[in-house]
């Protein structure tokens, strides 16, 4: 095994909003399985929205959350439009 780099962009395979208490976390928060471009499927926290992100949305990895989770945000020019979409 050896380390390899992927990202930062990927496509949402699915997402959910966790609304129940989980140890060490404060609900609600959005999680998504993100298929990184030419890379693996990773579980990440979607920052900046508390709603499911539509399947197929492009997200960009944005570092880690305060809890140390992999974080992602809506990527590029589509950001505003998609953010509006999911907020409805």
């Amino acid at each position: 095994m050896q380390p390899t780099e992927f990202g930062p962009d990927g496509t949402v395979w699915s997402s959910t909003v966790v609304r129940v208490a989980v140890p060490g976390r404060t609900p609600p928060y959005t999680l998504a399985y993100l298929d990184l471009d030419d890379g693996p499927r990773v579980l990440c926290r979607v920052e900046g929205c508390v709603a499911r992100v539509p399947v197929g949305t492009v997200l960009r990895l944005s570092g880690t959350t305060d809890d140390g989770d992999v974080a992602a945000r809506v990527a590029g020019a589509a950001a505003h439009e998609t953010a509006t979409e999911v907020a409805r």
């Binding site: 966790v18 609304r19 208490a21 990184l36 990440c44 499911r52 399947v55 809890d67």
Partner: protein, 382 residues
């Protein structure tokens, strides 16, 4: 030799904080032994997930079950079914003559709410509690197959209706689609009434050759096949939701071993830990094409009175989900159904029954374990 289920038993299911796991086991095992005519037990397999070390021996020695091999197994939600599978296989291969399978779980000692996966896995690390793992499947199904919130709710409506006549189930109140959807959101799109409740319980079965003991009070139910598999890799290369391929492949092997097809099965107990689970599973075991599982609910195909009732007991959604006990509770229901002893929830003329249990939680694979077993009614019951 074909293994037969000679007797089954269960405890009550629900939050039973005042009962020790021993007491849960005693109810289930005593009923199963009586049902089987009390043969000499040669070995015991016990399924449990969160049970304390020695949980099996601690309970069983009080019943005089000592000095024989006792093997405790853990396979997540499929632990009880794994104990059954190993017991059936041991009888088939002639390793032991009469084998007791037991499942036990005192969930209220470990959890107040949702189960979290192991914290070193990405899912556990990121706070993806078990309902959220299934919510991911539900979201995906809604986007790809057009499954609606109402379709998901229909699973809960059906299974809660079935449970009204199951006196051992945790929840026996019928609910409407509106009530299911109006209950508290747990992980979008799954609401509280679409999630199985935390429960304490135990269940047991005695396996052995047919016709033993000669004066057994109930007819033996044949194990036509039983298959256990662990999951394959689940990653970006998989087009399917988590668990689909594991259940599909396990069921195919079970049909093949029994020389049967999905259309032959009269009654099914499957792993409806969350509503989406039953929809995905009914597709994976071949009752509907992929993406068409919700049609079974709309048509009544899988309701009692339909051609292939699924979860006549009320399923995990109504019975509750004591992890280690669940598989053997499902088995007990199928045995009662095939003997024509399921009372107000009896599926008329059921001859062939299926048990399917799916256990998961490990990251990177589409399930820790799946067991599919096919059972056949005694020849004397019609």
């Amino acid at each position: 030799m074909i293994a037969h289920v000679l007797g089954v038993g269960t405890s009550m299911f629900g939050k039973q904080q005042d009962l020790h796991p021993n007491q849960l086991m005693w109810s289930a095992v005593e009923e199963a032994l009586d049902d089987a005519g009390r043969p000499q037990i040669d070995a015991i397999y016990v399924g449990t997930v969160f049970g304390a070390p020695g949980v099996a021996q601690r309970g069983l020695h009080h019943l005089g079950l000592t000095g024989i091999p006792i093997i405790t197994v853990e396979n997540a939600c499929a632990s009880g079914t794994t104990a059954f599978h190993e017991a059936a296989t041991a009888v088939e291969l002639g390793r032991f003559e009469h084998v007791l399978a037991v499942g036990v779980e005192k969930m209220t000692d470990s959890f107040a709410g949702a189960i979290s996966p192991e914290p070193t896995d990405p899912e556990g690390r990121s706070g993806l509690a078990l309902p959220s793992l299934y919510a991911m499947s539900a979201s995906r199904y809604q986007a790809v197959h057009g499954v609606t919130d109402e379709d998901l709710a229909l699973v809960a409506v059906k299974n809660h209706r079935h449970a009204v006549s199951n006196e051992r189930a945790q929840h026996r109140t019928p609910h409407t689609v509106e009530e299911v959807l109006a209950s508290r959101m747990i992980a979008d799109p799954l609401t509280l009434l679409q999630c199985c409740p935390i429960a304490d319980g135990a269940a047991a079965a005695v396996l052995g050759p047919a016709g033993t003991p000669a004066d057994a009070p109930a007819a033996p139910v044949a194990v036509r096949s039983s298959v256990l598999r662990s999951g394959g890799l689940w990653d970006q290369r998989s087009e399917h939701v988590w668990g689909y391929e594991l259940v599909r492949d396990t069921a195919l092997l079970a049909y093949e071993a029994a020389s049967l097809a999905a259309t032959d099965i009269d009654v099914i107990e499957c792993h409806d830990a969350f509503t989406i689970g039953e929809i995905v599973t009914t597709e994976a075991i071949g009752l509907a094409a992929e993406g068409e599982g919700a049609s079974l609910l709309r048509s009544g195909h899988t309701a009692i009175g339909g051609p292939q009732p699924v979860n006549p007991s009320g399923g995990l959604l109504s019975r509750g989900h004591p992890l280690g006990a669940t598989g053997l509770a499902q088995l007990a229901e199928i045995v009662w159904q095939l003997r024509g002893r399921a009372g107000g929830r009896q599926v008329d003329g059921a001859r062939l029954g299926m048990v399917e249990t799916m256990g998961g939680g490990v990251a990177g694979i589409d399930g820790n374990a799946c067991v599919v077993a096919i059972l056949e009614a005694p020849a004397t019951t019609s």
